[in-house]
Symmetry: C2
Subunit: 141 residues, 2 copies
DNA sequence: CGATATTGTTATATGCAACAACAATCGCTA
DNA sequence: TAGCGATTGTTGTTGCATATAACAATATCG
């Protein structure tokens, strides 16, 4: 093989993210969800009445791109909007959304475990902290 | 913050890949290159007369999607095609392509070093092998 | 030879993200 | 309190990456 690209962490990062992301997408599709949907569901549980803009900032999605996402989830009966003031609206899970959230969490945690199982034991504990260092407080750099 | 998503390696993987990929894209754009272009240039150096299909398999890009990629690079004078037989054509760097390859490699290696510098020292050496385990021989799973 | 696989290509669809603009509204301050 | 700057939700548009289906030409192998 002798792949010169496999020596670059950045390239491996991209390939690994593409490969694993595609696999997760297949499983989430069985629940009728996309990755972004699942992220929203998980965040929403612990952030009652969060705003679409704030949610976008948390997930690093521009608020313009939140519109179709939230519209779809609202039409699917997963989330619900409630006016906070004349400008902002708070988001919340519906009962159906809570069920979807539980299914999504179970799906994701199972997948994450399989993911970690693929990593040789001596590297396993280092993966998450190393990855987090690459993007956490990235706006500060 | 208490972000429940940051506990999932898969999610951190996606975020890290997006963040770092965007940064690399900015730098490569200064050279008039995209990430896929740079990958092609680096592979081509050590794989004389590789086929478009084989190159696509190496980079995990469908051969249908190689067409516009290679067309653009050929029109940019970076690569050159040569008939191997009536069906296949071998790819090679032009002189201009070799210069672009050197610039791309310098750019990427500098970037990779900065990337690793962000990772705490005790995790640094584990990043690449852990990532490679996530996608290497992924078709076999 | 003849069936089968491969190659390069066209066309098309989808998901995701970026950018610019805009009206409405909020919050602070002079 | 009147006004100005910042924020919110939204629309529209663009570009990039990727996936699928189809097709003609050609290679490979039984």
């Amino acid at each position: 093989m002798d792949d010169p690209l496999a020596r670059y962490p950045g390239y491996s990062l991209r390939r690994a993210a593409n490969a694993t992301g595609a696999q997760l997408s297949v499983r989430l599709a069985d629940l009728g969800l996309r990755q972004a949907d699942a992220s929203v569901l998980l965040i929403l549980e612990n952030s009652p009445d969060i705003t679409a803009s704030a949610l976008g900032r948390r997930l690093d999605i521009q608020r313009a791109n939140m519109v179709p996402l939230l519209k779809r989830m609202e039409e699917g009966g997963l989330i619900q909007r409630r006016a906070i003031d004349g400008k902002s609206q708070g988001l919340a899970l519906t009962a159906k959304g809570r069920k979807a959230r539980n299914a999504a969490q179970e799906c994701i945690e199972g997948f994450e475990n399989e993911l970690l199982a693929r990593v040789p034991a001596q590297h396993r504990a280092h993966l998450l902290p190393a990855l987090n260092a690459l993007w956490h407080d990235d706006g500060a750099s």
